[in-house]
């Protein structure tokens, strides 16, 4: 079966774009459900991220604050994160 190479190329780039879109989806984890004003603050602060299709998850183990994930990048603004950093610092001072 012959496939038009142009078609193949188009399909490939379309799929790649799709994957990229999926990868660059913003995921926000918070200790509690975020209100709309809180979401607004976040989108203002990180204006370069695409907030239209953001996912919001609730994970109480982070205690407070938020963790923002885009692809393999992570921005850790949670209390749990700072605590674990602190415990590392304590370990190093020792």
């Amino acid at each position: 079966m012959k496939i038009n190479p142009k078609l193949k190329k188009d399909l490939k780039s379309f799929l790649l774009a799709n994957i990229q879109k999926e990868q660059n989806r913003v995921l926000v984890m918070s200790a509690d459900t975020l209100g709309s004003d809180e979401k607004k603050v976040l989108s203002k602060k990180f204006s370069d991220l695409n907030w239209n299709e953001a996912d919001f998850q609730v994970d109480s183990s982070i205690i407070a604050g938020v963790i923002i994930k885009v692809g393999s990048k992570t921005i850790d603004l949670s209390l749990m994160g700072s605590l674990s950093k602190l415990s590392n610092t304590l370990y190093e001072i020792d």
């Binding site: 393999s72 990048k73 992570t74 921005i75 850790d76 700072s82 610092t89």
Partner: protein, 495 residues
Amino acid sequence: MKLIDEYIKTLEKELKNKPKISTEETGIVSQVKDGVVILEGLDRVAYGELIEFKKNVLGYVIDLTEDEVGAIILGDYTSIAAGDVARALGYTLSVPVSEGLLGRVVDSLGLPLDGKAAIKSKTLYPVEKIAAGVVKRQPVNVPLQTGIKSIDALIPIGRGQRELIIGDRGTGKTTIAIDTILNQKGEDVVCIYCAIGQKNSKVAAIVELLKKNGADKYSIVVSASAADSVAMQYLAPYTASAIGEFFMDKGQDVLVVYDDLTKHAWSYRQMSLILRRPAGREAYPGDVFYLHSRLLERACRIDKKYGGGSITALPIIETLDGDLSAYIPTNVISITDGQISLETDLFNSGIRPAINVGLSVSRVGGNAQTKAMKAVAGKLKLDLAQYRDLAAFSQFESELDEETKKFLNRGAKVTQILKQKKNRPLNLAEQVSILWAASNGYLDKLPIEEIEKFETKLLETLKLKGKKWLEKINKNKIMDERDGKDLEKMIKDIS
């Protein structure tokens, strides 16, 4: 109290910092294999970068495929589970280096293994480093005395050289390397013994031996034993090299023993197979040559303009049944500047060190040999070569002419005189005196059993009566006619 104040201050500083908004590269563990972890994510991680898992376990990225990252685990990998988060640290693997390393036993990450205090250091040296280039180098021309007669006379090693020690198991490879370390006492050479995949009991024995002989003051042992993960075994020689570079950059001469690179190649093979890299000959990956060439290329002698200093490498390779043409042995033979070949047959027939003089060479060491040694060694080499040629014929000893008998006799005596007990290195003057006696025919009339006795007697006499002579030779490294006459007198005294 001071300590607590400092502690609180640091903590306060840490707490005062406003949460910095910083992005981190993270990934999720998808597979845990023997010492190797496969991760998803970490899209922007670099080759050789360090990643951190929970509980401060570190990983070292050595495999980047289209959508996965492979990392070797530095330490205990059993605490890592699938689904764990790992974050990239943004820097490559380095080891802390300082003068405090002397006399210590450390692992592949530079952490102490001897139960003593942590090693204080302000400098970090990268474990993987491109070797010094052509411009910075200087040819090998200063000898590194091994203290072993047969090596210093026939296969001399220079500072900055890479000399392979190759042989079957139990032929005295490690002994040669350790004797060389013992002989560096007072020579201002920093010695690093790197054990790769060795038994812990063997390493303990070596540490003990170094201590007993006072060699621990200028030695460092880097050990990744057979019980450590392959990742640690893979890294150990590079760590040893990095520590060596620290001392070399200070203008010091360094001797590094890699014991042994066969096991290093095995550990790399295991890692590569787990990472599913294509296997080549003997199931080694394609870059097993580069594995050793980039390590041994780091041995060098730096030009004085660039600070001087040198790293001499003594890699060890274990062969099976004396097979020098196996894959790893041929590779390392071609990388190094010569080899010392040890043989089981010689070892069993009592010739120790069991060096096969015919198969051993030193490609650059000749320029580094001292004049005193050159004067006696030249004749010695000729005697031995002639002996080897004739020895085969002497099997059918029916009618040999006088000349042949003389050569055979001389050869046998020279072979005897090259024997040496282990852990008893000799200094230059001592070596020169014995070899001079042999090559000038003073042993020809002695029966073979008496030769060892003669040697001890000569050394005793020299120590008692010829102290000045020894000092002079050791200092000037030249032996002129008058020295020869003085020595002749002393030899005549004892016989």
